[in-house]
Amino acid sequence: MTPLLTVNNLHVSFHSYQGEIQAVRGIHFAVKPGETLAIVGESGCGKSVTAQTIMRLLPSTAKIVQGEIRYEQQDLTQLTEVKMESIRGSQIAMIFQDPMTSLNPTMTIGQQLMEGLRKHLHLNKRLAKKRAEELLSLVGISNPHLRLKQYPHQLSGGMRQRVMIAIALAGDPKLLIADEPTTALDVTIQAQIMELLKSIQEKMGMALLLITHDLGIVAEVADRVMVMYAGKIVEHGTVDELFQHTKHPYTWGLLRSLPQLKQSREESLVAIPGSPPDLLHPPKACPYVNRCLQAMVICDQTPPELTACSSTHQVACWLEHPMASKEHENRAGGDE
């Protein structure tokens, strides 16, 4: 299947007076039509910057240093702003973390929804209204007729996120980018929104690029997962590969630092020591070396390449090298 979106060797930097902060440092990936790809990582790992780069919504201090983003034969990094506007919303849509700040407080829900419909689908007012009501019921909002006339502050956080999803769906996009869509919401609402995203994706057959720090959510909705650390991809594979045949020590560390509900209080959590590197002076070798419990001499000297360990699973770690000791392999899938 030809991919819908391909990102090649993308480098993005932010400018500050202290120097260049290299937020994304050479990533490659592809999103196929209809699939869910999750990008996981901690704050500052470059996952949100990647999403903003695809949408060309980067702040003015950021620039794309090199790389290309291919979407249906076009390189998004080269498009004019006018052309990009026609892609945003109708081809690729995005929902954000904070549903409060991403809605305009002075416009009604209806106005904000119909704006996109009229712009992208060129509907007249009556048809746009009808479609807006359909969209609201699609995202599980009752009485859509009344809701259209309400303002964002009259809705709760979960409702607002539903409205954001409806707005994103208005242009019938082929790719939906969800940047931490549930982080600002309460757990019970989180579950509702994730269910909703899943069911909508099935109904509309669009691809979903999910950006999150929550491995639990990834396990529930994603087909494939990409783990980012310090602006690079460290592991990339299907959900089963990543969770059951974890290769990279960072992925493994992330999984182990979560308490299991059945875990007893006597066992302490396996924390990852230290903190991520400062991307103002990114490490030349493996970025994880200072926190890695299995670091070897080479890890501090040469950066590991992303190498395939199956047709779908890739990992950037020297432990995969044939000369490395294989002791660590006992731990993966050890919870069987």
Binding site: A191, A219, S268
Partner: protein
Amino acid sequence: MANQSILTVNQVSKVFSLSRKKQLQAVKELSFSIRKGETFGLVGESGCGKSTIGRLILGLYTPTSGTIRYRDQDIHQLKGKKQQHFRQKVQMVFQDPYASLNPRMTVMDIVAEGMEIHQLASGKQKREMVYQRLEQVGLQSDHASRFPHEFSGGQRQRIGIARALAVEPEFIVADEPISALDVSIQAQVVNLLRKLQQEQDLTYLFIAHDLSMVKYISDRVGVMYLGRLVELAASDELYRRPLHPYTQALLSSIPVPDPRQARQPKRVLLSGEVPNPIDPPSGCPFRTRCPHAMKICAEVDPTEIEDTPNHWVACHLYT
């Protein structure tokens, strides 16, 4: 000795007046007690009143009714020396690692502030003690001259913990201390809190919205909903046998980082959202979202009953 309670919250309510007509009942007739040396967890969604109760316990708010007793003294009646003593023995660790440290003070000044206020040490001795605290929380003594903005979130949280520890407290209210941190850092901070508890014989009130972390760190857990305690039990018991439908829903909404388990059909997915606390529903506050709501739930507010020893629940299903 182990079962002796150090803090007792008795029928505490707190009402905030938003305007002449609107009142927000943040906490309603809450009662529980915390034993010396244990970790008591409080969970609930945003707006359930869990942070308000933390601030009431610190004496930052005055309750509308009810009493909070610390070592058998009503904390809101304390004056002068006794009040200062209380302020030394009960400390807080805050949620936001960015807002909880004064950006214009060095780490040294931040950690030393409590020692100065309570005149625990001065001069060289004070500096030595600050270095010691910093090392205790996993930082280095040469960090003392730096300003908060130079640290990462997890490191700032460590500074906040060092500040609380500096005055040799007995009781620490940790108000969502890890929810603003990254996953890998959360475990570091939790492990640190547990290590300190053992070293210093601390008692914790651990407030969070993440039931899996609360369940892991706490001995006993209270579940709050709309200002009320709906269930209270030992943490293993709560996980094994959740009684209240809300607790059941909370437990099943936690996403499990295991694709095999995640794909199984699951869980009690709650419909709707938390009602507005300014205008709470009649009777049981949870009835608007409860899958088992009955006629009586709309009429009578359920009282807490002890279903099995030490397992309390406020739900009509069990009366």
